[in-house]
């Protein structure tokens, strides 16, 4: 089974921080007020952030697809 991770689209992220707030693993941070960044070591791809994101810019994808 391939491991999955959350992948925010930095170009469309509004940096509101809802994902960061909701992440149960505290795996997300807002990089200098510009966009959300996921700590891949902590992310368990639960998808809570993706559902909370008001701009729908977070996808849950295979780890190999996260650059």
């Amino acid at each position: 089974m391939t491991k999955k991770k959350a992948r925010p689209d930095a170009s469309r992220c509004v940096a509101c921080g809802v994902c960061k707030k909701e992440c149960p693993r505290v795996a997300i941070s807002i990089y200098k007020g510009c966009y959300a960044v996921v700590n891949l070591d902590l992310c368990v791809a639960c998808g809570i952030c993706a559902k909370a994101c008001p701009a729908d810019v977070i996808d849950i994808v295979a780890e190999s697809e996260v650059n």
Binding site: R12, V14, A15, C16, G17, V18, K20, K21, P24, R25, V26, I30, K32, G33, C34, K51, A52, C53, P54, A55, D56, V57
Partner: protein
């Protein structure tokens, strides 16, 4: 699961959001306090280069989350993409600032006595609502009341838009085109631009 996240005092700022409108309802001069919500995010962005206000302190965002998620008042459906697109965000910001400028001009008209003070608020920049009861005469000049009525209108209108979006789309859909959010992110991006190029 063990709770990793602790509660902080600033997790309860949604109370401030409600309190603001309640206080202003009884005495419009309280509307001036809204300037805190206006200036603080800009200070955070300009001085520290972050969106800490949006991310942690925004009472309106917290209120929308509370009503939408915990209160189940949101459809939690995806909003149309254009709502969070750059042109709409910056377009809405431009519109919002224009209306803010207009409000300042109206305040100036009262200040210069070219216009008399009307005890009303304006919702959605269109609908006049009488608000006489919130006016209590004091030693303060008329223009300070005019500004308060204007600022209260602006705050109430944007909150109503936020609530409508919360019901129709996701809890915090408002955040995607919130003028303050657009401005602070814009400032942060500008601040980081020079660093990235080096």
């Amino acid at each position: 699961m063990k709770k990793i996240r602790k509660n902080h005092w600033y997790d309860y700022l949604w109370i401030w959001s409600i309190l603001y409108f309640a206080l202003g309802f009884f005495n419009i001069l309280f509307a001036w306090l809204g300037l805190i919500d206006f200036l603080l995010p800009l200070v955070f962005a300009a001085v520290f280069g972050n969106k800490w206000f949006c991310n942690n302190m925004c009472g309106r965002g917290q209120l929308l989350w509370l009503l939408g998620r915990k209160g189940k008042c949101s459809r939690r459906a995806s909003a149309p993409k254009w709502l969070s697109s750059k042109w709409f965000r910056y377009g809405f910001l431009a519109f919002f600032l224009t209306m803010f400028g207009n409000m300042l001009f109206q305040t100036y008209l009262v200040f210069s006595k070219a216009q008399s003070l009307k005890m009303a608020i304006k919702l959605f920049w269109t609908f006049k609502v009488p608000f006489k009861w919130a006016y209590h005469a004091s030693a303060l000049p008329d223009w300070s009341y005019k500004f308060a009525f204007g600022f209260y209108s602006l705050m109430l209108t944007s909150t109503l838009i936020g609530l409508i979006c919360m019901v129709l789309f996701k809890e915090r859909t408002w955040c995607t085109f919130c003028p303050m959010g657009t401005m602070t992110q814009g400032i942060c991006q500008l601040k980081n631009k020079d660093k990235k190029e080096n």
